[in-house]
């Protein structure tokens, strides 16, 4: 056995330790859906929390539509507050999913297999939460469709110079591709579930969702092609979506927004936040469902490394803003930095530097990367930090810009918080419903991994990849 092969096998061993067989993998993952008793009490608690949050979201939306943006804390000069902070925050969270599923697929990183499914789900749910905001933050949401280029008798098109229009394209493309990518990846697993379930009605539902998947070689061929194409399409999205979101700010002339470093710095921030959110869900998930041998310490370790790297990129962005404020000699920029350091919201700024700059540095130590408690705490801090970053960028730049006479303060209202916590609740609800009803780990890719690890001499002695397509005959 050559050295390279041995290393590869070791790595596979790290990613899929222990004794597995194809049917055991099917059971371990599939039974999460087929056997409701596998769900701990926590599942019910979180679904209840998520449900309440969703109700709060609905209430906030109804009241908002009834009254108008005035129920929020937005004002002059702070036209954008929680609405856009939360939009950018949620969009950013989605990014890890795309990165894991698309980019890591293209570069043949096998370790993605156990986390890509729920990272992708996270992407879709996060973009759903994000998408609410640009729609509802408009003063007249009932005419928000004017942002779409649709033929109309007025002959009016959207104004293509506005970054908000670019946003519309970026985000709609993003949600479409992500949803397709996710669904296509699910087809073989739906087929597995269809075959495994004993309930005829449920089997029918799985049969419909699996779109007649029989696991034939032709199916697999088509599947791989489609999946690869979508991965190829998604890859630029990792960079483009958040770059475009960052252009909402970079294109403007508001001091603190008009920053050329924003696109890469936003992308890094998005991946940073996304991995923090993946960890937030992965750590309890593998504990509750006994998936330690599928989402392994190695996975956590590598995700922590990505977080550390992107965190450093983000922090470099912070430092460069400070440096250029001084180096440019532009008084607006200097006043901005001064306002961040010592202004009325300075506490939030320093909290940001702590959460995103200081806290992730603990991940330099391998022990910290393997310690789930430390990782969980750091990922919480990063999530908070990334939210604070958007607060620092959006209201803190707006509240003191050019004319001191127009300086003001921004304080969010109870409805701002209602909608924010509401989207978090909605996200939790969707995630936990997802754990219950959709294979949370990609079954067939795990089997693929097992096949690569063991060759065709272990497990079910057929060793075929297409175990999923048992009912193919």
């Amino acid at each position: 056995m050559s050295k390279i092969v041995k290393e590869k096998l070791d790595e596979l061993n790290d990613l899929l330790p222990g004794q597995h067989s194809y049917s055991k993998l099917d059971d371990q993952i599939g039974s999460l859906i087929l056997d409701h008793k596998r769900h701990p009490k926590a599942w019910y608690v979180f679904v209840a929390i998520g449900g309440l949050g969703t109700l709060m979201l609905l209430t906030s939306i109804v009241w908002l539509l009834f009254q108008g943006i005035g129920i929020w804390g937005n004002n002059q000069p702070v036209g954008w507050g929680f609405d856009i902070i939360n939009f950018v925050w949620w969009i950013g969270i989605g990014h890890a999913g795309t990165l894991i599923s698309a980019v890591l697929l293209l570069v043949r990183q096998q370790w993605r297999n156990s986390i890509n499914r729920f990272a992708e789900a996270m992407t879709i749910f996060a973009v759903m939460c994000a998408g609410l905001y640009p729609l509802l933050h408009t003063g007249r949401p009932w005419v928000a469709y004017w942002l779409f280029p649709y033929p109309n008798i007025l002959g009016m098109w959207p104004q293509f110079r506005s970054p908000l229009i670019w946003d519309v394209f970026a985000v709609t493309t993003y949600i479409t591709i992500s949803a397709l990518f996710w669904f296509i990846g699910l087809i073989p697993d739906f087929a597995t579930l269809r075959d495994k379930t004993k309930n005829a009605v449920v089997a029918r539902v799985w049969a419909m969702l699996s779109l007649g998947w029989r696991g034939s070689a032709k199916h697999w061929h088509r599947y791989e092609q489609a999946y690869l194409i979508l991965a190829g399409l998604s890859t630029p999205l990792v960079l483009s979506v958040h770059s475009i979101v960052s252009l909402d700010f970079a294109v403007s002339i508001v001091p603190g927004w008009n920053v050329t470093v924003f696109p890469p710095y936003f992308v890094a921030g998005a991946v940073f936040a996304g991995f923090a959110m993946v960890l937030t869900f992965a750590i309890p998930l593998r504990k509750w469902y006994g998936l330690n041998d599928l989402i392994t310490d190695t996975h956590l370790d590598w995700m922590a490394k990505i977080m550390l790297t992107t965190g450093l990129v983000v922090f470099y962005g912070y430092l460069s803003e400070v440096f250029y404020a001084w180096y440019s000699g532009v008084i607006w920029e200097q006043a901005l930095v001064q306002n961040r350091f010592f202004g009325p919201y300075a506490g939030l700024f320093w909290a940001l530097w702590f959460c995103n700059g200081l806290a992730p540095q603990i991940l330099w130590w391998p022990k910290a990367r393997k310690n789930v408690v430390v990782l969980f705490v750091v990922s919480q801090l990063v999530s908070i930090g990334m939210w604070l970053e958007r607060f620092v960028i959006i209201p803190m730049s707006l509240h003191r810009d050019y004319l001191p006479s127009s300086w003001g303060m921004y304080s969010p209202s109870v409805w701002d918080f209602g909608m924010f916590f509401g989207t978090i609740g909605f996200f939790i609800l969707l995630m936990f419903l997802f754990f219950r009803f959709v294979p949370v780990i990609n079954i067939f890719e795990m089997k693929d991994l097992l096949y690569k690890k063991t060759g065709d001499h272990v497990g079910d002695h057929h060793g075929e990849l297409a175990t999923a397509g048992k009912g193919a005959e």
Binding site: I69, G70, P77, P141, V143, L147, Q159, D248, P404, S405
Partner: protein
């Protein structure tokens, strides 16, 4: 026919066998009478596509399209109310649909009537402008004038008389009242008491004098908190008779304002501001620019504009007046000031003497009568009398004796039985001096009646509440400060069942039927024939009614009395700059108008000097208690830079005790409880703990070293090489081609300049803009959130005397707080040629016109607010809520809902300007409706061959702010017209663009402010 059932052929044969005669059948199915065939026959369109033969893709397409259309239909479930357009059958005279009519009438405040022109749309008066023919307004207007139309449409106005709180009618009142009056007449009017506010109307004065003769024993008084007794008494002391004082400052070289806000308040301030602006004009002969000194206990607009301002307690101001009088040769004893003030006094005195003949001293109306008299005597010495100051016979009835008349009235009241009390206007139960306890007095009358626009504190304690007509609903007359008479003509029939004071006097005591007849007859008696009457109505003034300047002889001055009361502080009680004596408390425009210098709305405060606030340990918003001999009140503190250290200013008029649903209720505190009629008393202030939310429109007060307001000294303008230089014009560098070359345009290019040198910060422009452009009132809760809607705002910055601060080299110090320099800057949309708001709008709702207007398309706006974020000037305003539909009762933080009909308020709206709904952005339009109106006029004139170009000429488009401005600080015009005034101003070296380095190419630019300091003071 989609599917066919199985055919039973034997059944078919059987059926055919049973038929006789010729049978036709279309198909075997018909014969078999299958249900399918029956359905096919029954179906009207048997060959249409059914769901089953639509393929999946098309089905999805149709479904998608149908759902989308269904969804779109749901987007506007609310239909617009249906209305009908019916042409006039008998068109009212002069009424042309779509055209405005203008009527000249008068606006009366403090008994002084000034000429106004009121715009009428379809019979609704909607906008007030100054009458250019009137000698004091000169075409300009005040915020009070502008806001008077809103009072007309106040939904809280009483709609009919009430007796003991129950709805009644005029007939009952008049028959009851006439019976009482005829009884009392037998006793010569004993038991009859009539109280009026200040009266300046010659016709009403004649009626009142006649009443006095008919009812010699009746008790009568004329008083209101804003009665100008001290001003009249000042002339009584100086010259022996009550006189009006009129200043003519356009040729002045040195002006000393002694606790006088002559530029922004008081009768005649419009003329003062206009003349002062002329004296500051450096266009012709810069050397002739006047110099303004101010000494005052509390900051005023005049103090803010002064070249040298000295903050001094009212007591010290009194000493200063005596010392100055002594220094300038008026025989007064007991005159000296010490310290810095003596140096200041000497420098000022020298400057006044040097400019003798062109120097004037203006004593404020809050000064004691003796001090005002000294000012008049100083002016005599300075040779200002007759040129810079003229005196004319007093306009007000009982001039100088108004408070005495009230005290005598109250005394008589307390002593004898009052059968019938008539309060013809005013609100004495609320605002009479606290020691009189007037509300209690009224209750002693057997029958009392109060004429007032709405049920207020006085109306509640009277038997009868009688609704009063607005001045736009009734006939009247009045005199300006110099005696010029104006006929007040109604523009609209009374909206409700109301009467004016004159009408009520006539109904009760008179012998004529209509007020119009009385007035017309009276002026006919003065030689105004029918033609002259019509001309007077059209011009708004009656010619040759100006009172001749009075011949004067100086009297010996009287010593100034010390301020009464005890306490370590002096409490200055003053009329509120926006709601006046409280009469405008229900006027949303004025409640929300930022008070000059403090930028506060919806509240009055206890204004403390920074030093004293530090001593008490209070900051703005802390609750403090103010106590004087008359009483004590608790209110929010406001730390006011420039306030004299040991003086406290409290504004009267707030704290109305009104029905909760009125907007007047629940704002501020009632300072009348501290007031015994004197404008300054000794008192004390203590911190009581707790806070009050104060809604100020500006939270930050320093320039932060930014190049925003530019100021320079006159010397620097005269000798450019010696003075300091601002950076020259930034060179425009752009990667884009020059739009002027890319899109050449021949038409007008609209632009504006605002001359900081003469802006007095009087806020008339703000209210004018609000009236013209249907700008919503948002309420205190929204102002607290920073959501006020004014399209033009007046920024106020504090700085230090050192102009170095302006260029960022020096920060204002602690000492500068005690006497800061104040910079005023009106800010409105800059109409940038390269507007940052435009490219960021996702739906192209804000776009540029060819003529250079940055336009808002309300219908297109979806409300992302991105444009506002990207506006460096923050001039855009967003309808966060449906402000125009907001009930006035919602304007308060704890407002209760009311079911009043608010439709009447909609009548004030300008029909040429869209009323904006919730969720859209708005901002200054350069009054585009006025541009278009002028263009239509020009085109019509062009079509008739009356002019050469179908475009408005210079000066034909006047924006609302420009029209209101008393100093002409705002100039609007066409930049493309090289000969226009605007083009000339833009070429001046003083012209600069705000935040020029942003390369937004503003169409609105500023003219640098000039200071003309006296080197002696340094």
């Amino acid at each position: 026919m989609g599917t066919r059932g199985e055919l039973n052929l034997s059944e078919v044969r059987e059926k055919l066998a049973g038929k006789s005669g010729r049978a036709y059948w279309r198909s075997l199915e018909e014969v078999a009478e299958t249900p399918e065939f029956q359905a096919w026959v029954d179906d009207e369109f048997p060959n249409r596509a059914s769901l089953m033969n639509v393929d999946r893709r098309s089905l999805l397409k149709y479904m998608g399209a149908s759902m989308m259309l269904a969804g779109l239909a749901g987007c506007r479930s609310m239909r617009l109310p249906s209305a009908q357009l019916v042409p006039y059958v008998n068109r009212p005279e002069e009424m042309v649909t779509g055209e405005k009519l203008y009527f000249a009438t008068g606006y009366t405040l403090q008994g002084i009537t000034e000429g106004i022109i009121v715009e009428s749309n379809y019979g609704r008066p909607t906008k007030v402008e100054g009458n250019p023919k009137h000698p004091t307004t000169g075409g300009a207007s005040s915020a009070f004038m502008q806001a008077s139309v809103l009072d007309l449409y106040d939904p809280d106005r009483s709609k009919s008389p009430t007796k003991d709180g129950i709805t009644n009618d005029w007939t009952t009142f008049l028959s009851d009242a006439r019976k009482i009056v005829s009884d009392l007449k037998k006793k010569g009017g004993e038991g009859l008491a009539v109280l009026l506010p200040t009266v300046g109307s010659p016709s009403l004065i004649a009626e009142l004098e006649r009443f006095r003769k008919e009812f010699p024993r009746a008790s009568i008084a004329s008083w209101e908190p804003s009665a100008r007794d001290k001003a009249y008494l000042g002339t009584v002391i100086a010259f022996g008779k009550p006189l009006e004082t009129v200043y003519h400052l356009s040729k002045a070289k040195a002006i000393l304002a002694i606790d006088s806000d002559f530029l922004a308040s008081g009768p005649g301030f419009l003329k003062n501001a206009r003349d002062w602006a002329a004296s500051r004009n450096v266009d012709g002969d810069p050397e002739s620019m006047s110099r303004l000194y101010a000494i005052e206990p509390t900051p005023s607009a005049t103090g803010a504009l002064a070249d040298h301002r000295f903050p001094a307690e009212a007591e010290m101001v009194d000493q200063f007046v005596q010392a100055l009088a002594a220094r300038l040769g008026v025989p007064v004893s007991n005159a000296s000031v010490g310290g810095d003030l003596s140096v200041w006094l000497e420098a000022v005195a020298q400057d006044l003497e040097k400019n003798s003949g062109h120097a004037v001293v203006i004593g404020g109306e809050y000064l004691s009568a003796e001090a005002q008299a000294l000012c008049h005597l100083i002016n005599l010495k300075l040779g200002a009398e007759g040129s810079l100051v003229t005196h004319h016979s007093a306009v007000a009835w009982m001039a100088g004796k108004q408070e005495d008349s009230l005290r005598a009235f109250a005394g008589a009241f307390a002593n004898g039985d009052t059968e019938f009390l008539l309060v013809l206007g005013g609100n004495p139960a609320f605002n009479a001096p606290a020691d009189l306890k007037f509300g209690e007095l009224i209750k002693q009358a057997k029958v009392s009646a109060h004429l007032s626009p709405m049920l207020d504190e006085t109306g509640r304690v009277c038997t009868w509440h009688l609704p009063e007509s607005h001045s736009l609903e009734s006939w009247g007359d009045g005199r300006g400060l110099d005696g010029t008479a104006t006929i007040i003509q109604p523009l609209i029939d009374p909206l409700f069942d109301t009467k004016s004071v004159l009408e009520l006097m006539l109904a009760l005591f008179g012998n004529a039927d209509s007020a119009q007849d009385i007035i017309k007859a009276r002026w006919a008696g003065q030689g105004l024939d029918d033609q002259g009457w019509r001309a007077a109505l059209q011009d708004g003034i009656i010619p040759n009614t100006k009172a001749a300047a009075a011949g004067l002889s100086a009297m010996p001055p009287a010593p100034i009395k010390a301020i009464t009361g005890t306490g370590e502080l002096e409490v200055l009680l003053r009329l509120d700059p926006t709601i006046f004596d409280g009469r405008f408390a229900n006027n949303g425009w004025l409640q929300e108008l930022p008070k000059p210098l403090t930028t506060l709305t919806w509240d009055n405060t206890v204004q403390l000097s920074p030093k004293h606030a530090e001593k008490l340990g209070v900051v703005s918003g802390d609750l403090v208690e103010v106590a004087t001999a008359s009483g004590k009140v608790t209110g929010g503190a406001w730390v006011l830079p420039g306030q004299a250290e040991n003086s406290v200013t409290v504004h009267l008029g707030y704290g109305r005790d009104m029905n909760d649903t009125l907007i007047a209720a629940g704002t501020g505190f009632n300072a009348y409880q501290l007031w015994d009629g004197a404008s300054a008393v000794k008192g004390s202030v203590t911190k009581v703990g707790g806070k009050v939310a104060l809604a100020s429109t500006q939270m930050h007060h320093y320039l932060e070293g930014r190049d925003i307001v530019r100021e320079m000294e006159l010397d620097a303008l005269l000798h450019p090489h010696e003075g300091e230089h601002h950076e020259g014009h930034h060179r425009d560098i752009s990667m884009y081609p020059d739009p002027e070359k890319e899109f050449p345009f021949e038409g007008p290019k609209w632009g504006m300049t605002i001359d900081l040198n003469v802006c007095t910060g009087c806020h008339a422009c703000v209210t004018a803009c609000q009236a013209e452009n249907n700008i919503a009132v948002v309420g205190k809760d929204q102002v607290l959130k920073g959501r006020e809607m004014h399209w033009i705002r007046i920024d106020r910055y504090y700085g230090s005397k050192d102009l170095g601060e302006m260029s960022g080299k020096k920060k204002p110090t602690r000492a500068d707080l005690d006497n800061p320099t104040t910079h005023l800057m009106p800010v409105t949309c800059m109409h940038c040629e390269a507007a940052p708001c435009e490219p960021v709008c996702p739906v192209a709702a804000t776009v540029h016109s060819k003529e250079g207007l940055n336009q808002m398309v309300y219908n297109r706006c979806v409300g992302t607010r991105y444009c506002s974020n990207n506006c460096p000037y923050k001039v855009r305003r967003f309808n966060f809520l449906n402000y125009n539909d907001r009930k006035f009762s919602d304007f308060k933080i704890d407002g209760k809902n009311s079911s009043r009909d608010l439709r009447v308020r909609l009548m004030v709206n300008n029909p040429e300007v869209t009323v904006r709904g919730r969720g859209v952005m708005e901002k200054c339009t350069y009054c585009v409706q006025r541009i278009n109106a002028a263009r239509i006029t020009a085109k019509n004139a062009f079509a008739k061959g009356q002019r050469e170009k179908p475009e408005p000429m210079d000066g034909e488009v006047i924006t609302a702010c420009q029209q209101a401005c008393p100093t002409g600080a705002i100039t609007f015009g066409n930049l493309a017209d090289e000969s226009s005034k605007l083009a000339r101003l833009k070429k001046m070296p003083r012209n600069y663009s705000l935040l020029e380095e942003l390369n937004t190419h503003n169409r609105t630019t500023y003219l640098t402010k000039l200071r003309n300091p006296n080197k002696e003071i340094g």
